[in-house]
Symmetry: C2
Subunit: 490 residues, 2 copies
């Protein structure tokens, strides 16, 4: 399968596109910019969802569901918000089709025109805050901690599977608080949840920071983000958490009575991650042999392939495998025993390697004689003969080791590709090679824009946990309180 | 809370509408026909999803995700299908908004008109079969067993929370098979899954049958359904499974090579249940005191309320509760300990009763002295003093008992409200009282339509597992091979 497969060095972008399709994660649909998430890809997304959903519930959030449609006038209520999303809105204008009078087929029924156009949600702040107005009266109703799993639509002109699609799946948290401090604490807490998920589950190290003003979410006072570094040296924004201040509370007139009965506008946050994480996962670990998945998100953690001639051999092997499979499953490890007779062992090896299954076990007649199996790990491609008595513990240990190894590898890559620079010349040289570049910046949008125009690099974030270090801007020489993180990005 | 609450006898329809809103299950949004599913309602839906999803996976299905949008031309490819859905389609015609030139606000950008209109999926056969064309070449690719959890939109003119909304959540299975027999077997298998879910989880007995031709899904050769009887004597269609023949395979030209290399069109099924099940659940068991939930779908199975004066008493009670709570949780029972000091015990009792929490435990200072607790069950409203030593086993047993009792109660109601009739006069008299009416029918759409026009009753289904009994049609007197099930319905 890896035969017709582009390598990362040949063409990283093509490598990614081919990998997503050939590993059966997703494919483009005939609808512009919309993807089909195939069962193997969707199974990974389900594992992500389950882990995140548990983390949200453990931090006190509840799920709910709000309408797909947003009346145009609602979207317009928060000025920055509509400005940010107007140019990429799918608009519903009619609610009926009919047979064309000239018999040419099915056409839109012009008599069924909506009085007010409906926007397919690009994000749900406006429709949700319209509900919160009814739900919040008193400080007793706060904090209101709600999450929604949903599809959203942003009519992007240039799309790529998972990374940027017109329709995508995501979760969006929308919370309401009595005080500014509480809302900021919530934004930061959820950023922490995202970072923990990225690092622990996806084995993907991330930087935590805030966006500059020009990169903020439309309607936010502060946008927190996690940023990861892909293998081509480009940054990928993997999740954002917004402190919205009282903007939406004011736009939708949501006030609460405090303990003294005084009416105040509510403070808000919103936060989201999307199927974009699938793209981040693929690009963080995969190699020229195909997908590499961290065990904690792999739909199949162990594939077992029998090597046999004739039914009798298969039966002997299968009876051994049955014990191994159930012992592994008792340890919570998902196992697929692939005894299909329609494909040869070599084909199966290639298949599981390409699809990133963390561990593959092969068992042949000689293994049966010797009481052994062959265990291959996907991350290092190492193989080892292991005795059947020890294989359960060995594989359970491998799950932990592979997860750690992937994290450490990604972390080393990031360390190797993070550089401090102290002049614009140095900046331009280093940024061309990719990676994160730490440089001093004078804090103005003008400087930020100049660098973006000239180098295509943007400020990915201003780090939250970093040493303060006085310096001078690489462009203007004006003073700067700390280095910020630049990179080219997805 | 139950004070301002309409009783079923006063006005069943009003009772339902009030219950859904007051029990915090859902509410209408400002978007015509679209609902907001509130956290308590969504938590029940999540439990339904989890149970169904497991049943789908246990029967070999995988989840995937297909686009929200369907090009108009795709929807038109299967003639009956588009005929069935054209009149209720939300249509996307533009992909951008802009500032009005006269400064009057945000308007649709007329220069951003789509070449081909996109329909928000009312169901996904067409977009999915367009993908299947690429996925299916050989008998080795079959069967293809896929399910999707998604939102769909049908522009209904008269909507009611959960029962009929413009946007609703559902799952839709779409399978492809090599033979007709296999596809029919799949349709029937999934009907069985739905019936099992309805009876085991929802405690709601259902009839299994097939629809008459006039009630079939648009594009199906056979529509299987489960039908439940609500407390007002009206039937509710709770799930459908369709045998689609080769209609969609022909419309999208999906063929497979069989073992001999001969090309054949694929055979198809589709099947779905939706948030309509929430309405069915509410109407099956709830009473004039509010919601009644079967333990297997209750987000909170046991609520514990302390009765105390002063912090010292509360602490003594809380330390006892802590042990009870964790012992119940070890048995997989979800428990909420409500020690809020903002509400009195009586208010809490009313709250949990109205929200249908199956079991409520109260503990006061006298209970501490006596080593007892008071256990109240929601279904019968009975209370019992139980010793602390026995409470864990007692409550665990109650979970089973309440689940069974709700099923038995609904089953008795259905038995009491199912009648055989042998003349049209008798039919008209009995159908007015509600319930299922079993009568002979001559098999023609004309007779079916006449009965519908004159009595508002429809044929809910032709039972699958029923005795064959020759008879004569109550309208025409023509021969009939078996009785069919009539009812007024939702």
């Amino acid at each position: 399968m890896a035969k017709d497969f582009t390598s990362r060095e040949q063409d990283y972008s093509k490598w990614y596109n081919e990998l997503v399709v050939k590993a059966d994660l997703a494919e483009s649909s005939d609808v512009r910019g919309c993807m089909v998430i195939k069962p193997y890809g969707y199974a990974i997304w389900e594992k992500m969802q389950a882990a995140l959903d548990k983390m949200f519930k453990d931090t006190g959030h509840q799920n709910a569901y709000f309408p797909l449609f947003i009346p145009k006038s609602y979207l317009s209520k928060e000025a920055d918000h509509v400005e940010g999303f107007a140019k990429e809105c799918a608009v519903v204008t009619h609610y009926r089709l009919k047979n064309a009078e000239d018999g040419s087929g099915i056409v839109v029924d012009e008599t069924a025109k909506l009085e007010e156009e409906l926007i397919i949600r690009p994000t749900s702040e406006t429709i949700i805050w319209n509900s919160y107005k009814k739900w919040i009266q008193s400080y007793r109703d706060l904090p209101l901690l709600i999450n929604q799993w949903a599809n959203v639509v942003r009519w992007e002109m240039r799309t790529r599977l998972f990374l940027r699609t017109a329709e995508f799946l995501w979760q969006e948290g929308h919370t309401a608080h009595a005080t500014k401090a509480e809302a900021i604490e919530e934004s930061e807490k959820m950023l922490g949840v995202y970072a923990e998920f990225a690092e622990k589950w996806m084995a993907m190290p991330v930087l935590k920071g805030v966006k500059t003003e020009s990169e903020r979410f439309a309607g936010a006072l502060e946008t927190y983000c996690i940023e990861a570094l892909m293998q081509d040296g480009k940054a990928l924004q993997a999740g954002t958490s917004h402190f919205l201040g009282q903007n939406f509370a004011k736009a939708f007139d949501v006030k609460f009575a405090d303990k003294e009965g005084k009416l105040e506008h509510v403070w808000a946050t919103s936060w989201g991650v999307s199927t974009r994480l699938m793209g981040a996962l693929v690009m963080s670990h995969s190699d020229d042999n195909g997908l590499v998945l961290p065990p904690m998100l792999a739909p199949i953690q162990v594939a077992i392939v029998p090597i046999y001639r004739g039914l009798e051999q298969l039966e002997t092997i299968s009876s051994k495998v049955s014990g191994i499979k159930s012992s592994l499953e008792e340890k919570g490890i998902s196992v697929k025993y692939d005894d299909r007779d329609t494909h040869k062992p070599g084909w199966k090896f290639a298949e599981y390697e390409f699809k990133g299954v963390p561990v593959r076990i092969a068992i042949g007649p000689r293994d049966i004689e010797n009481g052994t199996v062959e265990v291959a790990r996907r991350d290092t491609l190492e193989k080892k003969i292991v005795s059947m008595d020890e294989v359960i513990d060995y594989v359970a240990q491998l799950m932990v080791e592979i997860q750690e190894n992937l994290y450490n590898k990604a972390d080393s890559y990031r360390t190797d590709n993070t550089h401090e620079v102290n002049s614009y010349d140095e900046f331009k040289e280093v940024i061309e090679k990719g990676g994160f570049v730490l440089a001093h910046w004078d804090g103005t949008s003008k400087t930020e824009e100049k660098i973006k125009q000239e180098t295509k690099a943007t400020i990915r974030c201003i780090l939250l946990d970093t040493k303060k270090e006085e310096g001078s801007c690489i462009i203007t020489g004006n003073s700067s309180p700390q280095r910020v993180v630049f990179a080219k990005s997805y």
